[in-house]
Point group: C2
Chain length 389, copies 2
């Protein structure tokens, strides 16, 4: 296959401390009426809300607010935001928070130009026509939403969680200050690290690529997360650790490492079912699923990719047999998730049984995993879910 | 040091074969009057000129032409281009060729808005105020000019070669088709590979960084060049080899790997003197200089960086002493340049003696090497030049 793609990632990033003085002028490029979107109030506790408001007021902007975005953001919150945009003629959106807040903001921006329920868009009954310009201040290294073109929204009534990409939703400007993640607790830091790793692994595990260069970049990003995730847990105020996780998080999913790789993702569609039904943290679901998916997927036809992963990411002795390296890499990844990062290792441990597996596997297989690294149908997914019990 | 920087690389890239059908519509976004800039005519031989013209005509664009840009592009050619822009009210520039053509085009775009000689800008007698929008079709993997904000221009009269950066000069859209580099000969492929490696090494050798992640990315890019440079020489039509070199070339210098690293470059300012005085290929000069600069620079204070380079890029046994690994890495790099890539290894071999060393060292030290990885004054540079004889 001759690699072919369009690279188009124009997001401007202010990286580092004390860059917020640029916030006002960046927003003003796009308009004066701003909707500030945020979550459960942690930005008020941390003082970030105050800092942001100071900049907005200094610039004379007219600010509206939508607090209360949920960790797995709901379509009802998105609708609420879009309604404010329509009523108040909002010109620009400012998301301050983690990936959930930015994801919700993306669809608020889309909904502002759509006369109906955002769920129509997510279920493809209507198309994305436009999106208000989005500026973000990120407070968690995980989803990479600050530099990517996608988002995931949940519908509590139907128990659906749907992801969607559109270049119109990519933030224009994002502020990445590692010190804004100092207050992220151990558990969320661990889950964020898993999420970053998973974004890379979903692309890395692919047999049809000829851009070795991007494999090297992905291995570097994975090594970065494995090195700094545990350090950030141990030393929450370690700038170097937080900075590396933060920048790796953006580059894991902004589209660069994909090159022309068009394979469907595997663990994400499965996890979306878990968090749709049980509202668990996305990264925790991914940690439990990923090693089982690897075990289920590994065979003679793809062992070379696992071997490359083991040698280049986990530094396993390259003279060992490919299958030994492959199996060791899965063990080391499990050890990283469950011992080093300290996450629960089974669905049972977090109170999930097989009650909804059938319907979840049905939905996940429609999410596109059929066209993944190893094509997975409903039955395959059921087996992976059972391996996680 | 807490890393802090602004990331802003909005260039859109069409990567791969048969993407030229997008050329016309991309140009049209910026205007209808186009100046097509190219070099010595190799694009006519290869058929690329014809393909480009077909797209421009199809879109109904009004095309003016400036052929004859030199390999080390001269300020006189830039002035010629800027004059055409002023006279014909050119709205957008299309560079088709290698880095020299794109570099020249950048300054043509700047000169179009300046009432005087472009050399005033390069010698900082005047400032860059604006630049016409630039679109590029690259035919050589080397300078990375297709995605970066800089360029280097020579003045044959004063024997000066000056590089300058300005975000206004960054191409809006670039077309990277690896098959357009199939006709690049062995020597130019070798020199291009050295240039890419050098761009990375100039940033990589730095003791004041805390973005391990970018070190990993740079190591990946360097491994890519070392793997595919020789393959592209052996098999000029190898898509995978050409694609990896091409994309690595852009990312070596577009600014991403720099993060907040602000150290001056070392080998580039020295090489610019060599090619200013002797009009040699930039990559050849870099190949001769770099290992000597490394030998001259290596000491106990910076051996850890050389060790990291040796272990992660050349896969040298990490249990060896740091100094052994460091010295071995220099040997392996020399071996790569002079044996694997087959480049001449001394200035003597290409007919250069010490006649102009004094003035060249004087000029190079003004180029900023004083603030490099190892600060170099005129005397240091003289010594490095002599090591190359």
């Amino acid at each position: 296959m001759n690699t072919k793609f369009i690279y188009d990632i124009p997001t401007k990033v202010y990286f580092g401390e004390n860059q917020l003085s640029n916030l006002g002028k960046e927003i003003k490029q796009y308009g004066n009426k701003v909707l500030l979107v945020y979550g459960g109030g942690s930005i008020k506790k941390s003082g970030l809300y105050e800092k942001v408001m100071t900049e907005l007021i200094k610039e004379g902007l007219e600010v509206f607010e939508l607090p209360g975005i949920e960790p797995n953001p709901r379509h009802t919150s998105v609708n609420k935001g879009s309604d404010i945009c329509k009523k108040e003629k909002i010109e620009v959106l400012l998301a301050v928070g983690g990936g959930s807040v930015i994801d919700a903001t993306k669809f608020i921006g889309v909904g502002a130009g759509y006369d109906g329920d955002i769920w129509d868009i997510l279920t493809k009954k209507a198309e994305i026509k436009n999106c208000l310009p989005i500026i973000s201040v990120i407070t968690l290294s995980a989803t990479g939403s600050e530099m990517d073109a996608g988002g995931v929204i949940s519908n509590q009534e139907t128990k659906d969680k749907i992801g969607m990409f559109n270049p119109l939703m990519r933030p224009k400007v994002s502020f990445l200050d590692p010190t804004n993640t100092y207050s992220v607790n151990e558990y969320q830091t661990a889950c964020g690290s898993v999420d970053i790793l998973s974004h890379i692994m979903e692309v890395y595990f692919n047999m049809e690529d000829d851009l070795f260069m991007l494999d090297c970049v992905m291995e570097g990003l994975m090594k970065t997360v494995i090195k700094y995730g545990p350090l950030a847990i141990k030393e929450p105020d370690n700038y170097e650790a937080r900075a590396n996780l933060m920048w790796a998080s953006s580059w894991a999913i902004n589209g660069f490492v994909m090159g022309g790789r068009m394979k469907a993702w595997s663990c994400h569609p499965m996890e979306h079912q878990l968090s749709a039904y049980y509202d668990i943290t996305h990264g925790l679901g991914l940690a439990i699923l990923t090693p089982r998916w690897m075990e289920y997927t590994l065979d003679e036809t793809n062992v070379s990719k696992f071997y490359q992963f083991g040698v280049n990411v986990f530094d396993i002795d390259k003279s060992l047999s490919p299958m030994t390296v492959a199996n060791t890499s899965i063990e080391l990844l499990s050890d990283f998730f469950f011992n080093t990062l300290g996450l629960d290792s089974t669905l049972g441990a977090i109170g999930i049984d097989d009650k909804h597996f059938e319907i979840m596997a049905e939905k996940a297989s429609q999410g596109g995993t059929q066209n993944g690294f190893k094509p997975l149908n409903k039955n395959d997914i059921l087996k992976v879910f059972r391996m996680c019990l």
